[in-house]
Symmetry: C2
Subunit: 552 residues, 2 copies
Amino acid sequence: MVLNLLKTRFTVLLVAFIAVFSANVKAQDVYQQYRQGWLKKAEDYKPRLSETVKQPVSLVRLEKDKAAFQGWKAVNTDSVGKLYNTSFKTQSGVVADFGEHLTGYFSFTIKALKGTSDAPVRIRFTFGEVPSELSVPFDPYPGTISRAWLQDETVTVTEIPGTITIPRRLACRYVKMELLGASPYFDFQIANIEFKATTSVLNKPPLLAPGTSSLIADIDRVGLNTLKECMQTVYEDGPKRDRRLWIGDLYLESLANLYSFQNNDLTKRCFYLLAGLSGDDGVLISNVFETPEPHAQVGNRLLDYCFLYNVALKEYVAATDDKQTGLDLWPVAKKQLDMIRKYAGADGMMDYVKAGKEWWVFFDWKDGLDRQACLQGLSIYALNQTYALAKQLGKEDEVSDVPALARKLKNAAYKNLYDKQTGLFVSGTNKQISYGSQAWMVLSGVASKPEAQIALKALATAKDAVHPGAPYMFHYYVAALIESGLKNEAKEAVQTYWGGMIKKGADTFWEVYDPNDELKSPYNFYPVNSYCHAWSCTPVYFIRKYPEIFQR
Amino acid sequence: MVLNLLKTRFTVLLVAFIAVFSANVKAQDVYQQYRQGWLKKAEDYKPRLSETVKQPVSLVRLEKDKAAFQGWKAVNTDSVGKLYNTSFKTQSGVVADFGEHLTGYFSFTIKALKGTSDAPVRIRFTFGEVPSELSVPFDPYPGTISRAWLQDETVTVTEIPGTITIPRRLACRYVKMELLGASPYFDFQIANIEFKATTSVLNKPPLLAPGTSSLIADIDRVGLNTLKECMQTVYEDGPKRDRRLWIGDLYLESLANLYSFQNNDLTKRCFYLLAGLSGDDGVLISNVFETPEPHAQVGNRLLDYCFLYNVALKEYVAATDDKQTGLDLWPVAKKQLDMIRKYAGADGMMDYVKAGKEWWVFFDWKDGLDRQACLQGLSIYALNQTYALAKQLGKEDEVSDVPALARKLKNAAYKNLYDKQTGLFVSGTNKQISYGSQAWMVLSGVASKPEAQIALKALATAKDAVHPGAPYMFHYYVAALIESGLKNEAKEAVQTYWGGMIKKGADTFWEVYDPNDELKSPYNFYPVNSYCHAWSCTPVYFIRKYPEIFQR
């Protein structure tokens, strides 16, 4: 009896405790459950990578040449047979060229040529996306990000014959091989080198129209290569560096993918992965990693990327009609709008100063860019695109305040940022004029079509206009040209900018490209720049979405 | 009918062809079959290595100190906890001490301490058997053998957290860790390091007698460590370098093993492996490798080592009574005697000039050592030992010429090499006096016991006597002292020479040790010397075989 009574009282207490505890943790718990489900779906859509074994096409010599990109060119010297059939001791420093940018795993086979190997061999392999990476000494390293991004690996070979695969995944076109140690009592050859190239691209893209110019065809081809190389088990930003999923890159890659390789499962995986790794407050984190297990770069919150997630999701659902994914992830999209509501002032202007203190507000690799107009424009754009997504999903009632908020921000932008005298939009207290500001005022619809044309055309002669720092911002500038009906200018911009990289020998498009400063680097050392970078692939999207502009 | 006739004629032709072919290849074929059988037995006796995970015992700082071995000493600074619990960025260059010499595989675990890893980490690990290896720059490398023997490995870590094992097998007591690259945006720690130590030693050796002096006990302990570290899947010469089976090292290791760890299967494996990899002419090759598959260093024929194989086999059979192995390998032993017959002149003197042109005649790492007396002595010794082996196996009739040949060589040696005035044996046209010549004249029995004592004692005051270059030759000198009954001198020699290494901090005995020149190196760079070398382990043999001399 006593025991039973105790048991009953204990049960009552336990139930009461559980009820209180549940109420407290409910909100967080629900979100936690969502995230686990999203991570599960991300895993379900993880692609199997295709693997292709590639052989080098020739040996090359690196030569200084002022006319070449960054001052270095690769000159064909011999067939690869020379490497394979000759003592490696006589060839230290040889460079092999795979003829194309590859991402994956490098192997080499080493065999005795004369005598028996009586000591280990030590070889330094340096992998380069561009010739300068094999020519400029890495040490002492002046860069501001990790020296370990540079792709030089020293291998001690203790068994000969043998085939060795360097465990690190690499991204390169060229490999330099330097002998650092060998026995004087035997000779050996590198009997084979090969590269197991990986990508999650499975489909061939549609052919371009027959009349397409060779320059546009080249830009498209290199853009496709760039995209293919970045499409691994996520949309990476760059296969050499940073090798991870950033929202801004995902947005542009998913656009280009829609019009080319159409690996929509990869897009879906990335949306789910980012959602599954969002913070406890539901806010997205700018970038995530897949290994050793999926995790976000905690603390790295990038305001414009949160908004672009919504834009990317809207474009995806619109193009694929995959409403299920849209509905699954709608809570994420809805949540990101809170930050617009938070920073939108009573006057309809985004408090960019406060936002800039609390967030990383990026928009471009460009020191000194005033981001007020960009943030105002993207906020309006994101509100409208998210509302369009809501309509696709039948969720308008959950964001019924958004159309009015978008209008309010738009009116305020026009009132505060448009200079009717110059026809240009300004940004910040110093009324800075920039390509970014014009682009976002156009894309957001703050500018009417005639105003947009005037603003974009005026940039060319505007004194001190801040130019794009990276291809990423250049994308938005071209998008604005198209949006405002400046078709020829859009084509011209693509041909000049991305065509400029083609003329300088690009196999894939670069993270950073300033036509007037080939050594520009956000990291104080240009060999550590990524020379195959997702956000530079978007000519694929423009060329294929707008054949009437580009494929004539 | 026609068909049948054709068939019959074809069969006749085929049988005839086979008969002729068989006769031609028979001799070689038989030897080939022997060798395959020997290799098979070598594989059968391949030991499974025991694996023990070892933790470092402390952190140390390397300090210049003229009084320390090679000018460098390791001073305890902190417990290993400091490495594990503190940012590695603040500790680049730290040295961990495992407190003992280890052979095997090194692993480290790396974890984020603050923030999320957003870039690879690059760490250079340098492994040292002695402090100088961590203190003296390796590059530019002045050595005459492969730079790749030096144990520095640079690792790029692309996933954090993670545990990484360096694939190369290493031999060290100390490991230095230098940070070569990391992101400024996150911090990390090396959360664990460990060493999976391997050896094929299974048994504990018998205890020394209670009255044994602490110096002798120390020499025995360090000798046992040396032997244990070299006992892997073969008797290696040194686990850092050359990591393979040499006949000369096998001889001394198998002697020490008989009186300590008694892993006789390993000895057997090595005998069979060497036999299985001998040349088509049946002559042994001085050293062999196990991987990627068993193979010899073709062309590396070392005359004294061929003779020592026989001596080692005789000692093994005598100690173990394993006649089966002796009989299996008797054809090999018999074959090696042919070289003595070939170079023995009508006058009973070995033609050392001709042999020296046709062979590597080693005996010691000592430039300028005249090897005539050594070769004469070893030839006599090998003849007598091989005949003793034949008697054990009941094979005397197959080598019935040997006793007379041994006597002839012995008489000629006494006549030509003994200087009755000085009581010393001389060697070569310049009548060089050396420890090596006295040792081999004693061991071969050319000197009577009184003559041996006089010769060995006279060395101390002999002007320009060539001293041993390495512990290897010192072994034969000590063996000669014991053989001649100079017990105190033998003990004194062991205590002075090997004890000298103990006093200088040896954890294992060194390949090269000149008390007057700690930087001596046969390879022009002392960090590439082996500091755990099989041929230096033999105090174990002396101390344990002759307790009446050493364990009092």
